[in-house]
């Protein structure tokens, strides 16, 4: 099956039922695996998912959700260490953060006049993070359409890696928003979604903490720092909700 048979299913599904309503497709698939064609378009309820449902998106529209999921799974692919980022809730984390005060720029100085400054003067856009990501996704899709005649999520994995790498190194000039600003905000959100306490929607099952051997938020080490000096300290990690 070609890539065209795979992701249009996810995209079409999201467009039909809305990004907010759809549940996760059963099990995150590694980038190379194929998705059964959804041409028949049965509603999700008829296919009980094998993996926990995505709670749905409140910020992303259908196109944005598909883009971000594909970006998340390219940044954080499934491998022997963890499932892909989407299955770990990283796209949900990004969605919720962009819908939060942070995404709305509640702690940013957004008064004009606006001017492009030197790199040392930092962010000078008149956009909130949410507006920046929205506009940037459209820009990236426009670029991918022009360069590859398809959408980002429909690219082969290696091409998705190439696009994100080019964005990271500012080798693509986006039309509306500065490439660096867009990539840096998106990348930080994705990383945060992978490593954050699961209470915020990402890092499901504390997967990244288990991977690294990070004990989580509840441990105290006054009596352990000498005892375990130069010895690995490995425990089952605990998150904020484990103590609630």
């Amino acid at each position: 099956m070609s890539a065209d048979d795979v992701t249009p299913g996810r995209r079409t599904l999201l467009k039909l039922v809305g990004a907010g309503a759809v549940g996760a497709l059963p099990a995150a698939r590694p980038a190379a695996a194929q998705e059964p064609a959804m041409a028949g378009m049965k509603m999700p309820a008829a296919h009980p998912p094998a993996a926990p449902l995505q709670p749905g998106y409140v910020f992303f529209n259908a196109d944005e959700a598909v883009f971000v999921e594909a970006a998340v799974d390219t940044f954080i692919p499934a491998d022997e260490y963890t499932p892909a980022g989407t299955e770990l809730g990283v796209a949900v984390f990004v969605d919720r953060q962009l819908d939060s005060g942070y995404g709305r720029g509640d702690r940013m100085y957004l008064m004009g006049p606006f001017m492009e400054g030197a790199p040392e003067q930092g962010y000078q856009l008149p956009l909130t993070p949410a507006e920046l990501i929205r506009a940037g996704i459209l820009d990236v899709e426009a670029h991918v359409q022009a360069a590859h005649k398809t959408t980002f999520d429909a690219l082969a994995p290696a091409d998705r890696v190439a696009v994100l790498t080019d964005l990271q190194h500012r080798r693509i000039a986006l039309a509306t928003v500065p490439t660096g600003d867009f990539f840096d905000v998106l990348f930080q959100l994705v990383m945060d979604g992978f490593f954050c306490d699961p209470i915020y929607g990402g890092n499901r099952g504390k997967a990244s903490w288990k991977m690294l051997g990070y004990p989580g938020v509840g441990d105290m080490y006054a009596n352990k720092i000498a005892q375990y000096r130069n010895k690995p300290y490995i425990v089952e990690p605990k998150s904020i909700q484990d103590f609630a």
Binding site: G122, M191, M211, V217, Y221
Partner: protein
């Protein structure tokens, strides 16, 4: 038109360390003392309960306890040829807000400045000659010597229960401590913190190289302690969520539990939160403050008359209020005259990575804000300035602060930062890496200054404070040299004297950038001194121009040193409080 409130005796602006100490010292006099804090109330209970407080996203990424720059910020440029633009989001430094201020979420490194660091000008000139000092470097002495301040350093250490090891006890050098420190009248209140693996390796390597490592003096409290005021501090949990977090154990000395409860014991003391001071009001002569104007939580503009005003609102807040209120002559970079806004300084940094073998384990999550081992061999005047080519020096250290993966997920050098192979790289590195860092002095120059921005305003309509700052050749040489020292120590730590090193840490080549977090050790703007031509305050932190205004904090430092500011900030607050209680209140007027 502001509503005028009933007069009080003292207004304190800012509920951080300086303000808290003044409140605690002045409230028992029976005077009516009002403290105005722009941020919200907060306290260990209910705000810093573990483990919910170990929320890296909330505190480190979204900066819950830091100034909200949507209301007021600064504008920034590297030099006067540029247009300053707003710092639209937090970056290089994080001004505190709320009860406790930055004192509620600092790291806890608690120093006494060296004798040389009190007298940088005269000691440098004595040793190297006047022409050694670069023409554009405004090197100045403190108007207070180490010896004069020693009892106040001692007092503040005992209040905080600082954990450490004396290196110079009454003039006798004691092994295990800093052999370069000024003579101490007493040992530290609590013993040094427990070393991490990183610190053990650093200590051994630096000794092998002939340096003098010692434990960083830490207001993180190595054991439960009751201070002279009868307040208990808990033992540090080494929880690894210290810097930018409140402490669940009251182990990290902070004004909200060490000062505020004592001030509140006095019914004549009142703390008003969500109260932003806009201006210090002056009488028609311009030489006497009549009180302050502030905006309260309801958005009402209120005038609070007072006989004495104490500004304790950090470098940026204090300098801004002095400029906006017209106290003291503003610094004019074109003519090089004036004092308010002059002598801004910061702190340099950088370092080198240490990569260990797979059989060495760092347990990076076991950490505390000031948990570290330090050498002063390249600091103060312990090295040859002429050979080194820079004045000021810096501390070099290794430690364990936080292993929270949101902020610490290192990879192999040159390895992927995401995607295929990335997780493998992190898994191979997380337990097997640390760093050696440097923290260096920044001198004062006319080029680096603050004034009022001509274009941008805060939500109250006031012009923003404008910062003009860049690294100068002295600081660039210093940072380059100290990175090389860090690399040397890093190699020694893994027994690879001749291995190629991997310099890392914060960028120090090129221009200063407001973007990445570096440090909140900003200094200057309202400096103290013996000469009103080059200082805004006298030795008691009293305004030369408006004697019923005192200004506290690191804004008084004429230049910065290669170590953290809070030790002297607290000591000087006690020093100024003493001067106010024993001298000023008995006879208000100029103390010098």
């Amino acid at each position: 038109m502001a509503n005028k409130l009933k007069p009080v005796d003292v207004v304190i602006v800012g509920a951080g360390w300086s303000g808290g100490i003044l409140a605690k010292e002045l409230a028992p006099t029976g005077l009516k003392v009002v403290m105005l804090e722009r941020g919200p109330a907060q306290d260990t209970s209910p705000d810093f309960a573990a483990p919910a407080v170990h929320d890296y996203l909330k505190y480190q990424r979204r900066h819950q306890m830091v100034q909200n720059v949507s209301r007021e910020t600064i504008t920034f440029r590297n030099d006067v040829t540029q247009t300053a633009l707003p710092m639209r989001q937090l970056g290089a430094f994080l001004p505190g807000t709320g009860v406790g201020g930055a004192g509620a979420h600092w790291s806890g490194l608690h120093w006494r400045w060296l004798e040389w660091e009190h007298k940088m000008y005269s000691r440098t000139v004595d040793k190297y000659g006047k022409s050694f000092v670069p023409k554009d470097m405004n090197l100045q002495d403190w108007p207070v010597s180490y010896q004069e301040l020693e009892p106040y350093y001692d007092k503040f250490e005992k209040v905080c229960g600082v954990s450490g090891k004396a290196g110079n006890l009454k003039g006798k050098i004691v092994p295990g401590g800093n052999p370069f420190e000024g003579a101490r009248s007493s040992e530290y209140p609590t013993p040094p913190m427990t070393s991490s693996q990183s610190m053990v390796m650093f200590e051994q390597a630096t000794k092998e190289l002939g340096y003098h490592p010692f434990p960083v003096p830490a207001s993180n409290c190595s054991k439960a302690y009751v201070n002279p005021d009868g307040i208990g501090l808990g033992q540090c949990h080494y929880c690894g969520h210290c810097t930018t977090f409140g402490c669940e154990a009251n182990a990290k000395a902070s004004p909200h539990f060490l000062m505020m409860p004592l001030a509140r014991k006095n019914p004549n003391f009142e703390l008003r939160t969500l109260a932003t001071v806009l201006k210090v009001n002056l009488d028609s002569t311009g030489r006497k403050a009549t009180g302050v104007t502030y905006v309260d939580a309801r958005g009402q503009e209120l005038e609070q008359p007072a006989d004495l005003v104490v500004l304790a609102a950090f470098v940026t807040g204090n300098t801004h209020l002095m400029l906006y209120s017209g106290i003291g002559k503003p610094f004019d970079h074109k003519t090089g005259t004036g004092v308010v806004g002059r002598s801004y300084a910061y702190q340099g940094g950088g370092g080198a990575r240490v990569l260990t073998d797979k059989n060495t384990f760092m347990n990076p999550f076991m950490g505390s804000g000031a948990l570290g081992t330090w050498i002063d061999d390249f600091n103060g005047d312990h090295y040859d300035f002429a050979k080194a080519g820079y004045i000021g020096g810096g501390g070099i250290s290794a430690g364990s602060n936080s292993g929270d993966p949101m902020g610490f997920h290192p990879t192999q050098p040159g390895g992927p930062q995401w995607g295929v192979g990335w997780k493998k790289s992190m898994v191979e590195t997380y337990q097997h890496t640390t760093g050696v860092g440097h923290q260096g002095a920044v001198m004062a120059y006319d080029a680096n200054h603050m004034d009022l921005d001509p274009t941008y305003r805060d939500i109250y309509g006031r012009p923003l404070l404008r910062l003009t700052f860049d690294w100068q050749p002295n600081e660039l040489r210093l940072m380059q040299a100290h990175t090389e020292v860090c690399e040397r120590i890093a190699r020694q730590m893994v027994g690879k004297k001749d291995a190629p090193s991997i310099a890392s840490g914060r960028p120090h080549r090129g221009r200063f950038s407001i973007v990445p977090y570096q440090t909140t050790h900003n200094t200057g703007g309202v400096v103290f001194g013996d000469d009103p031509r080059t200082s805004a305050l006298n030795k008691y932190c009293q305004s030369w121009d408006v004697p019923n205004v005192f200004v506290l904090g690191s804004c008084v430092f004429p230049q910065n040193a290669g170590r953290n500011p809070t030790g002297p900030v607290g000591a000087l607050a006690f020093w100024a409080a003493d001067a106010i209680r024993k001298k000023y209140l008995k006879q208000p007027g100029r103390l010098v």
